[in-house]
């Protein structure tokens, strides 16, 4: 287990380095002066420009430029946003937790809805409920997420008035910023309106999380259905039936565990897809997350923000991959001694 962990961690670090290489190269690819793209300070005087050139090792070869960039990243200095001229690290610390919160809740909803439905579809293979679930999944997969978000706002917020349509929490509650994740902050704060704030935050998060969760849930339905059908056709299920176990015992004790193992790997891969959808949804629901900030930076041509935002978001996704890979290894005894990279 230890070698597996070490191997995985070294892969992780390698992946992060490649990512920083990518984001470094963006400084060259974006229009404008490279050093301005890295640091984000527009309207610099000549002295400031010279200082920046020294700090980012612009006069030397490309490897030391990369080294300087890397050292800046490790120090937490992502430069300044070209639009607001405030340090980007600041903005990221406030915005990233909101996105984490939203995407994790959406992932949870997608998994808890998609996976059981897929299992049910597989157990009733070729019967009516299987076809119904598959058609619903097809429909859910095909709806453009921005249209779905708009319809959801129209229907639930404006039509029925049940759920709010924008923001993370009502402005009336003043919750102190501790971690940035609303639910944890609410529980940690000592406001007298804790439970109302909690309820309010939950009503705010339900609609965007459900809208995000639709497409990944349909993919999970399909994945879990395939996995369960494969497991149910395996020899050991037949042997278990010959052993005399009842159907529900077989499903709950043996089939589900083996099917989940096949699915978990794909959950990690779907996470990038989920974050993509979350970015668009944040724009529609005005959720104060990093996706919306990135899209606005595109409108403002804020290249530094885009560079750092890419780095941070991808790091988040890769960390989630790693985490899910560890869960997979914990569940599946076969995966622990596995070959490199397979």
């Amino acid at each position: 287990m230890l070698t597996f962990t070490l191997r995985r961690l070294s892969l992780f670090i390698f992946t992060l380095l490649v990512l920083t290489l990518l984001s470094f190269s963006l400084g060259f690819l974006f229009p404008g002066d490279t050093v301005i793209n890295h640091s984000g300070q527009i309207n610099t005087t000549a002295a400031e420009l010279a200082h920046l050139n020294k700090v980012y090792h612009m006069d030397e070869n490309i490897f030391s430029q990369y080294g300087a960039y890397l050292s800046h990243i490790f120090n937490g200095n992502f430069g300044q946003s070209m639009a607001s001229q405030s340090p980007i690290s600041h903005e990221i610390i406030t915005l990233l937790p909101a996105t984490i919160e939203l995407s994790l809740v959406a992932l949870l909803i997608a998994m808890s809805v998609g996976i059981p439905l897929g299992f049910i579809a597989a157990i009733n293979h070729n019967k009516a409920s299987d076809n119904v679930i598959l058609s619903l999944a097809m429909l859910g997969y095909s709806i453009p997420v921005f249209w779905l978000g708009l319809l959801a706002i129209l229907f639930f917020s404006i039509g029925l008035g049940w759920l709010p349509s924008a923001g993370q929490i009502s402005l009336l509650f003043e919750i102190e910023f501790v971690t940035g994740i609303q639910f944890i902050d609410i529980l940690l704060s000592d406001s007298p309106y804790k439970w109302q704030a909690f309820r309010d935050a939950s009503t705010h998060i339900i609609l965007p999380a459900c809208v995000i969760a639709v497409a990944p849930a349909t993919i999970f339905i399909r994945l879990s259905r395939t996995a369960m059908i494969e497991v149910l056709a395996a020899s050991y299920i037949r042997a278990a039936r010959a052993k005399g176990l009842s159907f529900s015992q077989i499903i709950f004790r043996h089939a589900i565990r083996n099917a989940l193992i096949k699915i978990i790997r794909h959950v990690g891969l779907q996470f990038a897809n989920l974050v993509t959808i979350a970015m668009v949804t944040e724009v529609i629901f005005s959720w104060p997350g990093i996706g919306r900030w990135l899209i606005e930076s595109i409108y403002h041509r804020d290249y530094t923000a885009i560079q750092s935002g890419l780095l941070v978001l991808s790091c988040f996704i890769i960390s989630m991959h790693l985490f899910i890979h560890f869960i997979y290894a914990a569940l599946n005894p076969l995966a622990r001694g596995n070959k490199y990279g397979s």
Partner: protein, 297 residues
Amino acid sequence: MARDKIYLEEVFPSPFMQLWSGFRKTPVAMLGFYCFMFLVVLAIFSPIIVPYNPIDGNLDMILLPPSWHEDGDVSYLLGTDELGRDMLSRLMYGTSLTFGLSFVVVIVSLVIGVVIGSLSALTKGIKSSFLNHCLDVILSIPSLLLAIIIVAILGPGISNTVLAVAIVFIPQFIHITRYAVKEEFRKDYVLASRLDGASNFRILYYSIFPNIVERLMSQATLVQSAAILDIATLGFLGLGAQIPLPEWGAILANGLERFYIAPWTVYLPGLAILFAVVATNLVGEGIRHALKLRKES
């Protein structure tokens, strides 16, 4: 009187014909296929058959509701938008933009991705795992983010959008091709060709590609539906097709401001996107289902 069929001959159709007959047996897949063909025809011929010019508007007929509404006019079948442009013509013209360009995206990324993927599947050892990890990194960046960055580098506009989306889907094809080619390489018929002395290129071209082409096709339909959604999303965010091009996402974004007074400007483009994506997905599902049937029989 002579009978011409005395002996019942057994017909052994080729794998492709088996696939096609399996596809035809599923009515839902055939429905999707007809819708798909309808969209293709529309995409090709829409500049000729649109009733009104999708770009110039008739300022007398602003914000006309669709014809089934009491205020609507039958000559403007689906209503007009805020500049008096006919919705039906805009949607038809948008087919050739959103749907047609998704074809271009898929073909470009398919060709490049398959070539790179099969070449990289031939490598072994450190080079192979290095490529594998680079691919992992690129695949873990959200596709929309990557497309947005490429658009930020190149500037907005529909041709840049197409390029960006194509570049985004190349890694997916590389991944699929690598996986499929590696799987086929383990099989014995490839070993037999190799023992005969075939070069790598020959093995790829004659032995492996005919066996993976169906998997690639079903993946291509998935990628196409994702491409339609991505082009529409970029158009919605204002990064794709610029005004006044009637790309579906852009039409939707345009109609957003007047959502309450003219909701059809938001419903109709969304329905069009949904229709196109569902048709593509039905075709893809049909292909996969027919592949499964063929494997089982």
